[in-house]
Amino acid sequence: MPKYTLLIYGDSAQWEALTVEQRRAHDAAHADFRDAAGDRVIGGQELEPSPNATTLRGSVTSDGPFLETKEALGGFYMLEAADLDEVLALAKLLPEVQAGHSGVEIRPVVEHP
């Protein structure tokens, strides 16, 4: 079964500004997504905001993410699905798709023999 990674990008400041109620609705939407996807979800995590990242490049260790952008990677899912349409239909359930400041990038995973 082909694998896809769903990379969730958005503005960390806006994620951190969610009220308790908004955060609850947000988490509930993710639970709905996982229910709909069932055992097609094979992994996934929410990441700490990008200021907590550490980047290594050559001999330099630096404080912060690899790419300094307003929209940073906030989390990911790993799915197994038959085709892109199946992934698109599921990914549309993620609250980040409609939030305005955020979005979901779908990347097929390379199958190593």
Partner: protein
Amino acid sequence: MTSDFVAAVAEAHRRDWAQVLATTARVTRDLDLAEECTQDAYAQALVVWPRDGVPSKPGAWLTRVARNRALDEMRRAAAFRRRLPLLVTAPDNPGDDRLRLIFTCCHPALSRETQVALTARLVCGLSTYEVARAFLVPEPTMAARLTRAKKKIATARIPYRTPDPDEMESRLGPVLEVVHLLFTTGHTAPTGAALIRTDLTASAIHLARTLHLLMPRSAAVTALLALLLVTDARTAARVTPAGQLVLLADQDRSLWNRTQIAEGIALLTDSLRRESPTRFAVEAAIAAVHAESPSWEQTDWTEIIGLYDVLLRLTGGSPVVALNRAVAVGFRDGPRAGLDALAPLTAEPALATYAYLAAARADFLRRLDRTAEAAAAYEEALALTDNEVERDFLHSRLRSL
């Protein structure tokens, strides 16, 4: 004699290319290989038909040849191909292979320019060179774009199937946009010596007819076909035998294809009975008002302006629609009013490189005898126009001032 066979192959190319490729793709599950085998089948037809005669069902003959070649290739490359991602097909999903192909080429995960290029190449069967020329990019660039697109379809596993009914409406939008774009690109070629590229307009109409045949109840498809037919009906009158541009105002209306106009208007009526008008239905209605007007002088501009108002609402205030509306105001109320209607659009960034805005201003200024300003506007339009027939027209207007 030979030319008869060449014509038979050309006819089969126009009529059957999409079907042959679409059916072959379901066997190969690889668009690249399907394309290669389809091309090969047509090349074989050029050799075999003059010898054995044109088969009674050319499409079936071509499909068989393409499929056999594909099966050979797949056997030969079996070990290698096992490692490549394959096109995902839905064998139990009934429906036409050509529809699968169109919807795959116009999948929303592909950019609009990629959708158009893929459709022109795979569904209409235009060569990579022709597609490149139509969209003003060098052939290697277009070849790379097509290769990348086919790779993405395979790698991201964009399925080779028609959309489910609940997503049909949203998936149909890009398909209609692509067919319309193919038509308009051919209707006034962006560059080159000819005003009209009939290979593109004919392909687009053929595609719209195929969609209509396969989805006869779709009001949006019906409206698009109506628009293309009524617009295309004017073709014979749009250039003189010497190849010079003839404006709508000066066209010999007896040259318009009345059969095509009648068919288009009947389709439009049918579409409007089914659903509230889409953008293409309103554009078709505007084309129909022109088509039914006995002369330029008798054109019902108030009706046309009213339809442009509807179109402005449907397109969220498209600047190009606003420009066309302003021009219609000028024809109804005189060049002074036309110029006033155009004025706010000159600051519109989306129209900054749009030659028709400068050309429309030039025409109104000319009719107001504001010669110096008209000349400047014609110069501006010339700087933005690459089609040689249109350039000749603008030059002659400039000289006549």
